[in-house]
């Protein structure tokens, strides 16, 4: 047991896995390697209200003191560059070589690049705290911000930018914002809220060209419209970071392919979080890759258990949230598994759409409302989804029927 547990990627997933190994009383060496200069930290605040403060701060998952107390060795600002599977070692960009008994790849995902010429220094992406600080400096009253892509990160940033008084235009090539994974009924509410807050949303028109002249960015749409901005933020999705795994010959399938126990095609190498694709038990083993914070936490903890030999299969239901202005959206499950929906109104404009499969199974629930209005019922829906329950549509739709009572059934 000389090599111990080595974790590559000190993000949400890697950080949680390291802590979990110690919570499980593992006594051997635990080493966490990350290429960012920071402690492991939470990314969700980077696009939300925290961005609107004068001096955004890192929300660390564990302090230096906790890492020291738990004897977790955190090597930062260094990249893992090669895995030698036969020797059970990983080489780092500073030339050092680390041994492992079990290796966890928690390398996350990285923003999808806009495949276009003409991008320059005023065309940016958001993934890291450093990215967030650079963007924050541009979010000033009257500054013109173009957001390319009407997905969650772009829309959350639009809300933060409005709060700081910037002029915001969102450009989405699809016919509506949030095409992926969000029902139209809910996307419409988010759209209308942005418009009411003064955001200009342009949907259904692709980008013909972009020109960053070093001072401003001119975006020309296929339909001829031009948007001139002081900063363009590109948020068109993310791609898994798989280079290290691919070069080591591990199987890649929309992410590092792992089994239900998060083990890659090499039994001593695990992968978890945004970088992996895995079979989702609740949908009969459909292979998915999630980009979700709770999933990164849960898989980090599960990988830790399985690195120690627990042999436990992943069983969680996907869950995601987003905050924009005073609205919170929460989604449990994957709505594309459903073929019909039932709406439940919760008052104050809050509602949940339940997505049912043809055989009557509840497969997903999407809710939106002020504050945390939908939280409880989404959580109960998540448990029903996990049980593959087939609740009566009338019961789901009626406020008089408590969802908790369906769970007991």
């Amino acid at each position: 047991m000389a090599g111990g547990m080595l974790i590559i990627g000190a993000g949400e997933c890697g950080g949680r896995a390291a802590l979990a190994l110690r919570d499980l009383d593992y006594q051997g060496p635990v080493t966490l390697v990350g290429d960012e200069p920071h402690l492991p930290y939470e990314r969700p605040p980077l696009s939300k209200d925290a961005m609107a403060s004068d001096a955004p701060e890192i929300k660390a998952i564990a302090s230096d003191a906790i890492l020291a107390e738990k004897s977790i060795r955190h090597i930062h600002s260094v990249q893992a560059v090669a895995i030698d599977r036969a020797a059970h070692t990983v080489r780092l960009s500073d030339g050092s070589v680390l041994p492992y008994d079990k290796l966890l790849l928690a390398t996350g995902s990285t923003p999808r690049k806009l495949p276009m010429p003409g991008l320059g220094a005023h065309c940016v992406y958001l993934r890291t705290f450093a990215d967030a600080l650079a963007i924050r400096a541009h979010l000033t009253p009257g500054n013109r911000i173009a957001i390319i892509g009407g997905g969650f990160i772009g829309l959350e940033l639009a809300a933060a930018a409005r709060k700081l008084g910037a002029a915001v235009t969102v450009i989405e090539a699809q016919p509506r914002i949030l095409m992926r994974g969000v029902p139209a009924e809910i996307a419409e509410i988010i759209h209308d809220t942005h418009v009411a807050e003064g955001v200009d949303i342009l949907c259904g028109d692709g980008i013909a060209s972009i020109a960053d002249d070093g001072r401003q960015v001119r975006t020309t749409l296929a339909g001829g419209r031009e948007i001139v901005a002081d900063l363009a933020i590109i948020g068109i999705g993310a791609v898994p970071v798989t280079g290290l795994a691919a070069e080591a010959g591990l199987t890649i399938d929309n992410g590092i392919a792992v089994d239900a126990e998060l083990r890659s095609s090499d039994p001593d190498i695990f992968a978890a979080g945004d970088c992996c694709s895995f079979p989702l038990a609740v949908y009969g083993g459909r292979r998915v890759r999630l980009e979700a914070w709770r999933n990164a936490q849960e898989q980090g903890a599960l990988a830790a258990r399985n690195m120690l030999g627990a042999g436990e299969a992943h069983a969680a239901v996907p869950w995601f949230w987003s905050d924009q202005y005073g609205l919170s959206l929460q989604i449990a499950g994957l709505s594309d598994e459903g073929s019909s929906t039932v709406r439940r109104d919760l008052g104050d404009g809050a509602f949940i759409l339940f997505h049912l499969a043809e055989d009557g199974r509840l497969v997903a629930a999407s809710g939106i409302g002020p504050g945390n209005a939908v939280a409880r019922d989404i959580r109960l829906a998540e448990m029903l989804i996990g049980k593959q329950a087939k609740p009566a549509p009338e019961a789901l739709g009626s406020q008089d029927v408590k969802l908790k009572s369906l769970l007991a059934a």
Partner: protein
Amino acid sequence: MSDWVEACATGDIDEEDVMRFDHGGRTFAIYRSPDDEFFATDGLCTHEKVHLADGLVMDDIIECPKHNGRFNYKTGDARGAPVCVNLKTYPVKVDAGKVLIRIG
């Protein structure tokens, strides 16, 4: 200082549920367990100061509505990511159908 304060009537909270109670500029969460006992904790999650009373009570766990952080509301113990700081708890007694908490 350590006065008993009336928070609500016993009938105001369902079994296995939670209610928010504000007093003296502070906010608390009052719980009724599945076996009909009452408990009280600080009202805000230790992760991002969200009102726990919007969360879900299952057995002796309160789950935060924002990111599903979990606490044992009887002891205040944080039960896993993303919460790591325990909740403060307060003594509770029931008197003539009223739920009283002692705010120290």
